[in-house]
Every structure is written in C-alpha cells, then in structure tokens.
Symmetry: C2
Subunit: 409 residues, 2 copies
C-alpha cells in the first residue's frame, strides 16, 4: 500500500508516528500546505525510516492533489486536514481511482427557517450523494474513521452484532479529566472548532421520525465515565455518528453527547450570549486604525494554543458508545470505550492524548484495508465493516478497549 | 453663574436638558471633542433657549480648556467626560480661577506587588494632593458629585448628621431591574467601563486599619432593593465613596457594592478567566492581514451601544446608602435611596434612567453653589457640605429620595 497523507498538523503527525511502527504499507507521502510541517513530521521519524517523503500540497486544489496521487502512485488518500477540505480531497481520490479515508465528513448547513427543529444540509450529505460513483469506480471512501466518529461507530456495530438482539438507544459519550497545569482556563482542544461543533444545531435520530435538530446544549446529562474520570456534564452536539449509525444499524434513537463539563459549557453559553462566538467581523479601533476582526478569532487568540500544551497536560480522555436494549429477552446496557492517558501517549509517541486517540484509528483502518480484512466499494461508514478485526488490531497496537456492563450513566 | 460643561455624551446631554428647566445660571457653554455632539445637545433644547452655546474642545488640552473658560467668562467648569480627562480639566479650572465639579475622580493604580491586599495610588489621590492650592486660590473643587459618588455621599452625611449617634458601617448599594427588550444580553451601561470598575481591586475602609483592597467580586451578598426591584447579588467594587466618606465622616467600615446580579457577575468572571477583559492587544488575522486588537474593545463591539438603548429599556435603577449604627442607645439600620424609572426619564427628558440619575445631581450642586447654599474652598467631597439643602432641592426637581427603616439587606 502507498498512502498520500494530506495534513501534517497534530493528528497527521501522530499518524506518521503510529504508522512508522507498522509494516503494512510500502510508502507514505506526508503533504502539507506548509512544507516545514511535513518535513518536521518526517524528520522526527529518524534517518533510518525511509518509507516517508515530505511534500507541499494545497488541499483545496483537487487537480494538484490528483497529480500528487499519480506522481507518487498512491492507492489511498488519507485526509488529516480540517473539514473545509473534505470535498476537494474526496473528489481528487475518486478522479484518480484511489481509496479515500477521512476523520470528519463534509460540513452541514442549518435549515434556513427552522434551524433548531429540522436538518438543513446534513454532515456527509455531499459525500453520500456521490456514493454511486464510488461504487461504479469500485473504490472505497471510508468516511468518519477517526476515534469519534470512527472507533465509536465500530463499537456500535460490535454491540449490534454481538451484544444485543434489539437496540433502543445508541449514545456516543465523550469525556475526559485532562487538566493543563499553569492556566486558569486552557481547553485541551481548539476552542474555535469546539464553538463550531457546539453551536451548530445538534442532530438527533429517532426511528420513525428520522433526523431532527435541537437547540444547542440540549438534553444535558451527567455521564459517569470509567477508569476514575468520573461524572461529567454532557450535552448534545452535532456529530457524524448520528448521521452514520442509522444508515447501517437499527436503533430506536441515536445521540452524541460531548462531556464538556459544566465549566466549559458555561463558558460557551456566555460566549454565545455576548456574540463572541461569531465569525462575521466586528469593527474595532486599533493602532492601525479601524479594523474588522472575527470575535471568535479573538477568543482563540486569548487562549494558549492547545497543540503546544501536551507536556503541561495530565489526565485521560475517554471515547465510547453507550448502548441500551435487550439480549435474550432481558434488558441490557453497556458502555464500550477506549481510554488514552496523556502521560502514556506523550511518553510513547510524543503526542497529546486527544490527538493520538484520533490518529490511531485511521492507521488501524488502513492496515485492515491493506490486508484485505476490510474491503468494499462506495461511501461507507466504519459501522459498515466487520468490527472484530478492527477491535483486535487496536488491542495489538497496544491500546486496548473495554466494556462496562450495566447502567452507570 | 456661567458654566463650561465639558463632554456632551449621554450624561452631559442630560445635564443640559435638566439645567434648561432651571433659572440659576446665566449661560452654559457645551463643549465636546466632537462638535456635532455638542451642537446636537444644544439644538434639542429649541430655538427659544438662548442660554446654551456649543463649541469644540479637546479635554486633554488644559491650555485650550483654560482659554475657553476665559473666552466665555465661565466661573465653573462642569466635567462630564470620562475619568481619563479629570486631571487636565481639574488643572485648567485651577489655573483659570474657576470652580470645578466632576462625577468621577482621578484614576487609581494597583499596588505593584500586593494588588489584592494593599492600595497603590487611590482614586482621587492626584486631586487631594493639590488641595492646598485650591484653598490658596479660594476656589472649590467639588469632586465625585454624580449619583454614586455624589448623592450617595450626601446620604451618608445626612445619616451621620441626623439619623445616628454612632455609625458601625456605611455601605453604598446600587441595583436595578432594567431590562433591554429584544436582546439576549444588553448591559444598560458601558461594558468596557464596568470591566474596568469590577476588575480593579475593590477598596474597603475600616477604622483603625484604613483603606485596603480585596480580590475582585469579594464579599458577595444579596441586597434587597426597594420599590419592587427586589433581591440582587452585589459584590465589592472599587468606587469613590469608600475614599471620600472616611475623610469627613466617622464610620467603622465603608464599602461599595454593585448589584450586578448573578448573570452579569458570571459573564465578567468568564471574560476574566478567558483573558477577554485585557486591554493589551492580541494578534489575529483579518482581511487586512495580521492586526493587533484589544480583546476588551472586541467584547464592547459585540454588544449593542447602551447609549442607544433607552427607548428599548424598562425598569428602575436604585442608588443608595445603607447605614448601620446606633441612635439614642438603640441599634438602627436605614437605607437612604433614590429610584429613577426609565419610562419616566425617557418621557420627561428623553434620557435613559442611569444617565439621567447621574446627571441630575451635579445640576442640583451647581444650583446650590450659584445660590451660595453650598460654598467652600479646597478639594471637597459632597459629604463635606450640608446635606439638607441638597436633598430638598433634589425633591424640588421632581425626583424625590426615600428612607427605608430597618434591616432588609
């Protein structure tokens, strides 16, 4: 397998470090708009590691990406950029006859008149409407293959296959007890993206009703996360799993709740109340005269860059899928989850826990595609493919998953 | 009396409207850096009102202000600008032999090493250290003569003169139930100034200990405001009364607590936690490239301009002085207060309630100076002068004050 990895940010860089320990691929081209980032990711792997090449690439230029796929004879494009670049990369892979893997799907647009009741354009819609073309080309577009979406969808399929006869509800629940030393307030992830995720109308799926949206921060609950993380306040957030799972699995209800915690939820509510979450510019005075700036950019600029906080952070992050239903006529409830400890990921890979947890899953998926254990054509979510090989290989990567039986939510 | 009014913002404009109904002065020159603001204030009064003249003046230019005092033969300078201009205006009046009235005193600077324990430069220090010169010139600098400070200090003196034998504590308590229709969150006053006030270390006075500072938002209490406003969460805020009252009155403790309410206090705490209260610039991208902006300016730019909200606002604002002590050997507790209803002030004067309440008090003071009921030389606070004539004249202006007997705090 020859891979074109587009994006050498935190997750892309962690992908190179995880992949470097595996033998399933022949070559990986590491491409970034900023060639220094790509070169730095490759240099970190050492001189003896010759399977990686750094190059410059503009992810918004589908033709340029296609040319790179051809030049380096890559059979799969691994997208590790931000969601704005999903479509050009997805199209470049299709045009070039390469497989495609991403970790976030094409963006949504709220319903024009009833944004908090009805879906407008949904996450991934622009990709699923091209599914026939991928089938016709006999190529696989594996979408939403990070940790959430990604591993969380694999868990859902595993629950449906092996743990339940009928499923009433599937709820992805994400929480952490990560703390950054030395700051009053320092989110361990981009506040810009978190605002975007949390203020988009959250989407919920119900059998019979289909997909619908709610107000931001709806259906607050306290979920008890395992391995000492403990109870964290969670709220509905727009996320790919809710759009992916019902396409392949039967469940009465599907939700995604993000364990932001009451402090962070309070901060986001305040930013929203004051209009500081807006991206449309406001005019303010500066030493250079009147300038127009996006309030959300200013909020991000006031906080430390989370990419540089890995070595000041401690704690664990937990991604998982809570399922409620029946098995052999009896009610059952399980939480399938994966925890990464930041001290472990920093020591082992020099990668922050949230970033590492996102990166390990697409590498596992690439290895399954390379071996043929995962194969198919069209636009598929992770729950469309057999879960056992994935979960076993993840454990082989040194990062096992767990199952908690019973109601703890 | 001939008055040079400097500043034709909200309060300055309301001063012209209140003064126009009184006959105690011969002429009032309305000066502003922006001549359109001065002209608009004068034009509002109508063609028959010939006692007002608009002019342009830079309040930071003491020589220019002195020249205007001379040109218009003014015997008093009424400062209605923001506190940054206190010193040049105060000096211009002294140099020109005019009396001086302001509504906020020269600014403080925190203690360099123990900002939340000890005072650095206190509010008004730069004015009080010039007191001898005012005495020598036989001119009066009446400082802190708005509503708070101002009327609140008159109440304190009235309580000391007529209601108590001994005073254990004087606490200024300011609260409102003003609501702006059509906004999620719209403060009825400048958020920039409110952040400044609330994040400066609050100052407290105790007999024997003197002045000292605390952490922001300290000593939170719920004070029950009269006339249906009801209970509002109040916290310590740096304010002039705490510096003024102990110079003339004997009290065991003096505090100022601002009834911001739990929602507003939560917003300010969040802004502080995120560093969005900062005035030092952060660098962000804009359409014009990288620019440096003050986060606090961006916060202010995201909110509606409170000056334009008067006609969308309803409710009342209450300023007052709570006093606890003994009279004739028995414990006593009173709250002396002044309430302005926004619908009334908008209808009667076209001025928002908070602005009108600030503006009426210096006009009453000017009338007392004109009549000779208030006279003196040096730098004096309102509590240095007899309170009865002031309180009676305020009632005559159609805006009576009240006394609540007993503990309701």
């Amino acid at each position: 397998m020859r891979v074109l990895l587009v994006g050498a940010g935190g997750v892309g860089t962690a992908i190179t470090r995880i992949a470097a320990r595996r033998s399933f691929f022949e070559h990986m081209v590491v491409a970034d708009y900023d060639p220094a980032r790509a070169e730095s990711a490759v240099a970190y792997l050492g001189e003896d590691e010759r399977r990686f090449t750094a190059t410059r690439l503009d992810a918004s230029d589908a033709a340029g990406v296609g040319a790179a796929l051809a030049e380096y004879r890559c059979d799969v494009l691994m997208n590790a950029t931000d969601p704005r670049f999903v479509l050009p990369l997805f199209e470049a892979a299709l045009a070039q006859g390469a497989h495609y893997v991403d970790m976030a799907m094409s963006l949504s647009r709220p319903h024009p008149s009833r944004p908090y009741q009805e879906c407008g354009v949904k996450l991934g819609d622009a990709q699923f409407e091209r599914a026939e073309e991928w089938v016709a080309a006999d190529r696989l577009a594996l979408v939403g293959m990070g940790v959430e979406p990604g591993l969380s969808d694999v868990f859902a399929r595993y629950a449906a296959d092996e743990l339940f006869d009928e499923i009433e509800e599937i709820g992805i629940r994400d929480g952490a007890d990560l703390v950054v030393d030395g700051y009053d307030f320092a989110p361990s992830f981009s506040i810009w993206t978190t605002i975007e995720e949390c203020l988009n109308p959250p989407v919920v799926y119900e059998e019979g009703r289909g997909w619908f949206t709610t107000e931001p921060f709806s259906e607050s609950e306290v979920f008890d996360f395992p391995e000492g993380i403990g109870p964290v306040e969670c709220v509905n957030v727009e996320h790919e799993e809710v759009l992916l799972i019902p396409r392949w699995l039967k469940a009465g209800r599907v939700t995604f709740k993000y364990g932001l915690g009451d402090e962070f939820i309070g901060v986001l509510r305040t930013l929203h109340k004051l209009g500081l979450d807006r991206t449309d510019p406001v005019t303010v005075s500066s030493a250079a005269g009147q300038v127009a700036v996006s309030p959300r950019d200013v909020v991000a600029a006031c906080l430390p860059d989370p990419a540089g906080l890995g070595d000041r952070m401690h704690g664990r992050t937990c991604a998982g899928t809570w399922v409620r239903g029946t098995k052999d006529g009896a009610p059952r409830e399980v939480y399938l989850y994966h925890v990464v400890d930041n001290q472990w990921s920093m020591r082992e890979y020099g990668s922050q826990a949230v970033v590492w947890q996102t990166a390990v899953n697409p590498v596992v998926a690439l290895e399954l595609i390379a071996s043929g254990a995962w194969h198919g054509s069209g636009v598929l979510g992770p729950e469309a493919l057999p879960p056992r090989p994935f979960l076993d290989l993840l454990t082989e990567y040194g990062s096992p998953w767990s199952l908690r039986e019973g109601a703890h939510g």
